[in-house]
Amino acid sequence: MSTLAIDKGGPTRKIKYRSMSRDRTWALRWSYFFLVLFAIFSLIPPIYMLITSLKSSAEISAATNPWWVFHPTLANYVELLTSNQFLRFFWNSAIVSIVVVFVTMLISIPAAFALARMKFWGSTTLATGVFLTYLIPDSLLFIPLFKMLAVLQDLTGITLLNRWYVLLFIYPTLTVPFCTWIMIGYFASIPKELDEAALIDGASWLQTLTRIFIPVALPGLIAATIFAFTVSWAQFLYPLVFTTSIDQLVLPVGITTTLIKGDVFNWGQIMTGALLGAAPPLIIYAFLMDYYIAGLTAGATKG
C-alpha cells in the first residue's frame, strides 16, 4: 500500500505511457494472429493445387496422405505445355485480355477525364450511372447480351456467336464502368489549379490529359489496368456462354470443358492448368505491386 501511495505523484504519466504501449503490443499481437490465420486460409488451396499437380493420376486416386507427394512427377506439366489445345486456350486468353485492357483504357481514360473535369450538363448523373452499371451482375446480363448478338448476327450476317473475338466487345461491359469510376477518383484528386495552369500555359484538353493527367495519375492508371486484366483473364461466365468450339475457348472454360470428360475428372491436369493460368496475373502483380499500392493511396498526402 505504501509503495502505491508513493507512486501517485510524478510517475503517473509514465505508467499511462507504458499502458498505452501495452495496448499497442496487444493490438499488434491480435493483428498478427488474424493475419497469419488469414494467410493460411487463403494459401491452402494453391498449395493443394501445387501438390496435386505434381502427382500422377494413380497417386491422386491412391489412399495415401493427400498433403504429401511420394513420387513427384512433372508429367502433367509436360503434357499440358506440349498440348496444342492447351496452348490455344492460353493464346486465346492472352489475346483477349490484352486487347480488352487496351480497349478499356482507350475508353475509360478519356471518359473519366471528361466526367471528372469538363463540367457539362448531366456529368454528375452520368458518372453515377457509370458506377451503377458496374453493380449489375454479369449473370443478369448474359442472356440479353446473347440475344442482342444473335439478332445482330442475323441482321449483318457476320458470325458473332461462338467466336473468341466477340469477347473483345463483351468484356469491356464489365471493365469499362469500374475502370472509369476509379479513374474519375484519381483524376478528381488532382488539384484543379493544375489543369488551369496547363490551360493558361496553352495546352488543349487533349494535351492536358496526355501530358499532365496521365503521367500524374499513372499509379491509378496502372491499378485500373491490373484490374481490367484480372477481370478479363479470370472471366468464366461470358466465354462459357458465348464460345463453344474447342478452338475458340479461353483458358478458364477450356480447362473445365476439356479436362472433365463426363464424370471423369483429370485432377492432375486440372490443377496444373489452373496453376499455369494463375501465373500471368501473379507475375504482373509482383512487378507492379508498388505502383498498385501507390495508386490505392494516391492523394492521401499532399506533396
Binding site: 489549379e193 488551369e196 495552369a197 493558361i200 501530358r211 499532365i212 500524374v216 506533396g303
Partner: protein, 366 residues
C-alpha cells in the same frame, strides 16, 4: 505588355452575384493589388481576367482588345496560383518551359529564357529537381519562373504567399517586388492580407461584397479612406470607431464621445464639419497610432483623457493598449516606457488632427 480594363463586369452564379459591375483601368507596367475579405469577389475577378471564369456581363480588355470570349491560352497572360500548381512529374526546367514547348519555340530560345528566369529568381541550382524536392518558397519561385519565361502581357497572382510561413512571406514579398521592378510586366495581384497589398501595390483596389469600395495608392487609402469598410480594413491594428455627436459650445464646435469626454475640434476640422446636422449619429475614426501616451508639450489639436486599461500588449518598439469607451473596444499605441499596465489607469492623448468622421448609418467618410 499591355493595359487591362474592366467595364461593368458582372459574375453571377445561379442566384449569387459574386461580382457586381466592376470598372477598373490598369495601365501598362502597373502593379495592382485586389484586396478584401474572403468572398468579396477578388479571386473571381482575377479568374475572369485569366479567362478561367466566364463573364456574365460587361467587357474585359487586354491591350485594347475585348477578350470576353478568348480562351486563356490566347490571352497572353501568366498566372501564379496559391498552391503553386507545379506539374509534379516534371523537373523545374520542364515546368518552366512547358508553355514554350507547347508553342514549339526553338530549343535554344527555351533554354535561354529558362536560364535567364532561373538566374533572376536565384533557382539556377534547382533546375533539375522535381517540385517534391523543393521547399514552399522555392516552389513559389518556380511558379513565378514559369510565368516569367512566357514573357506575357499580364501577370496574375492569386494569393501566392498564403501557403508560406510568416517569415518567408515577408521575404517573398520583397522578391516579388524586385522581380516586378526588373521585368515591369503589368501585374494584377490578389490577396486578403492588407499588409501585402500596401507594400506591393502601385494602386490598391479594395473590394467588398462584389463591389469596389475604393481605388487608390496605399497612402491614399490609409490617410483618406472613402468608406468605413476601407478605413477599418487598411491598417493594423485596425482603426478605432467611437460613437460620437457634434455639439456647439460657445461658438466652437465640439465632438462629444461620452458624457464625460468632449473635445473641441481643431479649426481646420471644425470648418469642414460645421455644416453637418448636430443630431446625427456619427463615428469618430481614429487610428491606434493617434492614441498615444500623454506628455507635457502637446501640439494644438491633441486632447487628453483618462481611462483604465483592460489589456496591454508589449510589442518591443511599442506597446498596444486596449480599453473601452462607451462599450466600444479601443486600441492605442504607446511608448514602451510610458508605464502602461494591465488594469491600470492611464492618461492618453488623442490627435484630432488625424481624425476621421463617419456617418454611422451609411458608413461614408465625411
Amino acid at each position: 505588355m499591355a493595359d487591362v480594363a474592366l467595364r461593368k463586369v458582372v459574375k453571377r452564379y445561379d442566384d449569387v452575384e459574386a461580382v457586381r459591375g466592376i470598372d477598373l483601368d490598369i495601365s501598362d507596367h502597373e502593379f495592382i493589388v485586389l484586396v478584401g475579405p474572403s468572398g468579396c469577389g477578388k479571386s473571381t475577378t482575377l479568374r475572369m481576367i485569366a479567362g478561367l471564369e466566364d463573364i456574365t456581363d460587361g467587357d474585359i480588355m487586354i491591350g485594347g482588345d475585348v477578350v470576353n470570349d478568348v480562351p486563356p491560352k490566347d490571352r497572353d497572360i501568366a498566372m501564379v496560383f496559391q498552391n503553386y500548381a507545379l506539374y509534379p512529374h516534371m523537373t523545374v526546367a520542364e515546368n518552366m518551359s512547358f508553355g514554350l514547348r507547347l508553342k514549339h519555340y526553338p530549343k535554344a530560345e527555351i533554354k535561354a529564357r529558362v536560364t535567364e528566369a532561373a538566374r533572376l529568381l536565384d533557382i539556377t541550382d534547382l533546375i533539375d529537381r522535381k517540385p517534391k524536392q523543393l521547399s514552399g518558397g522555392q516552389r513559389q519561385r518556380v511558379a513565378m519562373g514559369r510565368a516569367i519565361v512566357r514573357n506575357p502581357k499580364v501577370f496574375l497572382f492569386d494569393e501566392p504567399l498564403s501557403n508560406l510561413d510568416a517569415k518567408l512571406r515577408v521575404q517573398m514579398r520583397i522578391e516579388i517586388k524586385k522581380v516586378h521592378q526588373k521585368v515591369r510586366t503589368t501585374t494584377v495581384y490578389v490577396t486578403h492580407d492588407q499588409v501585402e497589398a500596401m507594400t506591393l501595390a502601385d494602386r490598391v483596389v479594395v473590394m467588398n461584397k462584389g463591389r469596389i469600395e475604393q481605388i487608390g495608392t496605399p497612402n491614399e487609402l490609409y490617410h483618406k479612406p472613402a468608406t468605413r469598410f476601407v478605413a477599418g480594413f487598411i491598417g493594423s491594428p485596425a482603426m478605432n470607431f467611437i460613437p460620437c455627436r457634434l455639439e456647439d459650445a460657445g461658438g466652437k464646435l465640439n465632438i462629444r464621445l461620452t458624457d464625460r469626454i468632449s473635445f473641441p475640434l481643431p479649426p481646420a476640422r471644425a470648418a469642414r464639419y460645421t455644416a453637418l446636422p448636430r443630431t446625427e449619429n456619427l463615428l469618430l475614426g481614429i487610428r491606434p497610432e493617434h492614441l498615444t501616451e500623454s506628455h507635457a508639450h502637446l501640439e494644438p489639436g491633441v486632447e487628453t483623457f483618462d481611462t483604465v486599461l483592460d489589456v496591454t500588449e508589449p510589442m518591443g518598439m511599442e506597446t498596444l493598449v486596449y480599453f473601452g469607451l462607451e462599450g466600444a473596444p479601443i486600441c492605442g499605441r504607446v511608448d514602451p516606457n510610458a508605464g502602461a499596465k494591465d488594469g491600470a489607469p492611464m492618461r492618453l492623448a488623442m490627435d484630432l488632427n488625424n481624425m476621421h468622421l463617419l456617418n454611422e448609418a451609411t458608413g461614408a467618410v465625411l
